[in-house]
Amino acid sequence: MTLSVALESMPTDRAAVELERVGVSIPREGQVLQPVRDVSIKVARGETLCIIGESGSGKSLTLRALIGLLPQGATMSGTIRLAGRDITKLSADERRRIRGARIGMIFQEPATALDPVYTVGRQITETIMAHEISSLERASARALELLELVSIPNAARRFHSFPHELSGGMRQRAMISIALACQPDILLADEPTTALDATVQMQILLLLRKLQQLMGMSVIFVTHDIAVAAESADHVAVMYAGMIVEMGSAEEVLLTPKHPYTRALLESRATAARRGQPIPVIPGAPPNPGDFPNGCGFHPRCRFAEDICKTSEPKFQGIDRHRRVRCWMAGTAPLETLS
């Protein structure tokens, strides 16, 4: 398979995708919710960024802002650049074209994301024909290649299968092949393995890793599962209450976390070593976008919180070039000594 011209001609010195101070606002019952605030991320070509967060953290909405699939009434602020080009200033039509051809997306529930009344082969063929000038015959041949690429056994037979005739893992593979149909520069994945069994989850994670190396895509992977991030990310961004609270390489963030939330999340895991002992937990539950706390969004659950955390929002401070933390206490004695 040949890589698309767009990908080949992309300058390598620029980030494949860049979000600068992206926010999402949703009006609801007289007030304006801000489920995503001040999100800035950069993903280089061929790199995987995992956004880790719990429900209500804004991780999925960030992806939806990027692909332009925000819920009705929602507005986006900030800038999104693809290969250096600001796509927020483009017309709706132009954005749609870019979305289909340059960005692919896979969802958590392949059963609902696929159209139940068309065969898998037809859905892939249609995607190719919608974005690339291609005859039906050539598009079908390419669709079959794609099914083989995502390791669907008996691809020629599965081409004519309806989504309900496939298992969960096979459906997810079919959806990946649709997302890859136009050889996108960027693949967005929203919890693509959450609904799958452990063995199949690992198969899909390994497949995504292989495809990324083969096609040189940038991947933004949203997950609530630290282990999924550890298995796939080059870089990790941790989101809480609509904001990124910590960012860095996967090793930095997961092995030497700086933010109290990231630390607590990593500590509060059930492991064999903890048998018979209570798991150290974060009290309370993650907040909904309607009642994000003032100041630092995490302060009501944070054991290091001081007065300043309740009133002022911490800045996103750089420790070095890629490593950033949004915490008033980062680097201070109480946080460093109690680790």
Partner: protein, 350 residues
Amino acid sequence: MRPGSETTGKRSSLALPLLEVSHLSKAFPVRGGLLGRTIAHVRAVDDVSFVLHAGEVLAVVGESGSGKSTVAQLLMHLVSRDQGSIHLEGASVGAKDGITVRQLRRSMQIVFQDSYAALNPRLTVFETLVYGPRSNGASRHTSAMRAEKLLDEVGLDPARFAARYPHELSGGQRQRVNIARALSLDPRIIILDEAVSALDKSVEAQILNLLVTLKRELDLQYIFISHDLNVVEYISDRVMVMYLGTVVEQAATDAIFSRPRHPYTRALLTSKPTIDPRRRTTELPIQGEMPNPMSPPSGCRFRTRCPFADDVCAAQVPRTITVDQAANHQVACHMADPLSSHSRAAGMPA
């Protein structure tokens, strides 16, 4: 009944088990065609035997379609079994000289994954919690006192939560209510069917701690159905591994995790993701997915995905062999059977 299954009758402990399940089977009819006739049967649970001793947490693991939730439903009599027996403290459930289903459900309760669907949206938390005791003859006053105590036990302030409806609660709070309701009739056993799987990770840890505390304080036993092997290793004393309706391996938790014998258990363990980015999984755990349960493979049901499959695996259903008495470690694999004609019989590679 399959050959060799009599080994499941041997117990490492001489004490009477709290729960003894023998040769449990259930086949669901599959209807099709114009007239909706039964065209096939899915053997969702096939000859499943296990025991639960006092103080134990038994984990049931396996992929979706392995039959673990059907086992839970059979235990609760939410679906009726085709074959097999269930004994609770020695009394046969449903037999003439045994105990009734109603009595069984007083001793055994279940908490489901979907905390919202499991609650009646038109009942307040308080009404939900008094329902069981009231319909079992407790007075209004006793039930109310009990409801308040239950809310305390599951970490919900009665003054704040008793009057709320399910939609006014978070997922974690709803699951606490479901646990409180399960406790309302003082059961001995609670079946937790993926009860923490849908929760946020930070909330999941809270609920696990609650379960451990309740077990200790109220003298409970759990049947813990889960796909999360980290959680299973944390909470359970024994693990039962299911594949396509059958038990392929069961043993004390340590034995399962440190000395797994069945190739399927090994594959499951390799698919446990790491949280250390330097130690990523590189080898694929197993190829393919579970076959269609309507037409399971002959012989060993795992053979179509097993890297060690031999002629005997297609020809014969493997016997259940006890490989370690102390851990009550049982395996249904031809390789673990010294009498089988498998080329690697009883000498599986380490």
